[in-house]
Amino acid sequence: MEKFSYVNATSLEQVTSLLSDSGWGEVMVIAGGTDLLGELKEYIETPKTLINLKTLPGMDSISADGSGLKIGALATVADIAMYPEIQNHYTVLAQAAGSVATPQIRNVGTLGGNLCQRPRCWYYRDETVDCLKKGGELCYAIEGLSKYHAILGGDPVYIVHPSDIAPALIALGASLKIVGPEGEKTMSVEEFFTLPATNPYRENVLEPNEIVVEVQVPHPKSNAKSFYLKAREKGAPDFALASVAGVFEMEGNTCQAASIVLGGVAPAPWRSTEAEAALTGKMITESVSMQAGEDAVKDAQPLNDNAYKVTLTRNLISRAAMMAAK
């Protein structure tokens, strides 16, 4: 780890003004630090200054009312997973948060950090590899080892977005609040994430002098069922090989609306409009659910080692749909 100077945050204004002076990487913010510390230890990031956000008051709160949830960016992943209202009415979010990393990491890692965490790609995380994501010429997954890489939306960088919480939030139609030197702005979580075709170096639209401060989640409809299915190599803890966040508005066995967002298969959480279309308005049967899975992966472009993810994603989507019908 390189040396850095350290500042405790006192206000959002102070944070954004400290960030404003630099581009990416000179001044960085730390909250739980469970992702950033890994990057610091491996010299992937070498900031001159770290700002500790945890000293900002009130930003770790979770509140719920009839219209929805407000979750501060400093709320821990464990708090989200264990919050009774979230467990009862936002199942997909509780399940996604509960599937993150280890109990110890969930106790420290924050919502904001989970959304803004960097890729787990083994080329990106190797300090000696100057890959496209880090400003180099090449995405090494294309010719190299790609077992854990993207099958959708990859070009030109084939990382997968590692967040479990992001697909759940998008499936629930959540939005987030960002604060920068110009004040605050709100956008949908879906718009927040970007594909490498737009920007190969970052995974979201955040500017170097902005931070995420809050997420708002609208209350799901009373007939909504939601699930987070995560396929991984170990029982846990492990990142997703593929995951499905699904919110289904059901009338009996008929799906009135479906919101299906995939994790672990694309450089950003990936809404499958194809799967949604295949289910919406349909009575869910085995063949309908399988069709939804097929449709979701019809444009998949696997690399050398990850064709299995196509099968896996297809199967997970149809499994989620069948669970909604039960």
């Binding site: 100077s5 510390l37 464990a78 280890t102 110890q104």
Partner: protein, 159 residues
Amino acid sequence: MAKHPVSLTVNGDEHDLLIEPRKTLLAVLRDTIGLTGTKEGCSTGDCGACTVIVEGKAVTSCMVLGVTAAGKEITTIEGLASDGALHPVQRAFIETGGYQCGFCTPGFIIAAKALLDENPARTEEEFRHALGGNICRCTGYTKILEAVMQAAEEIRTTA
């Protein structure tokens, strides 16, 4: 790159320290304070050997900067036994053979303690989930789970 004055309460004792910002909480505990019972196995938060309790929650101290723990109350393996008596989890680990080499043991015991402080009434499946952040390479976990369940039973019945 000035060092930062940091006060920590570790096992009930207050420590006023000057810490280089890049030092992890684990390094502060082991090297600065000298509490070497907490172990470093992976430095990436994956093995749980460095688990300590910060403000009632189990955390992997290798993934926390010492400076961010300022003002916090911390319990390490050295702080578990009180008045010369072992904590029920410690005793259960000895009695069941819940460890072999002993290196992951402080992390497991601390993780289990945090868990039991929160709620000792759990199913085997819940204990498995709660201990999923700790790796043991010697025991195959059977006797670890037996130890934790034995301790939970004791805490429930004596509570």
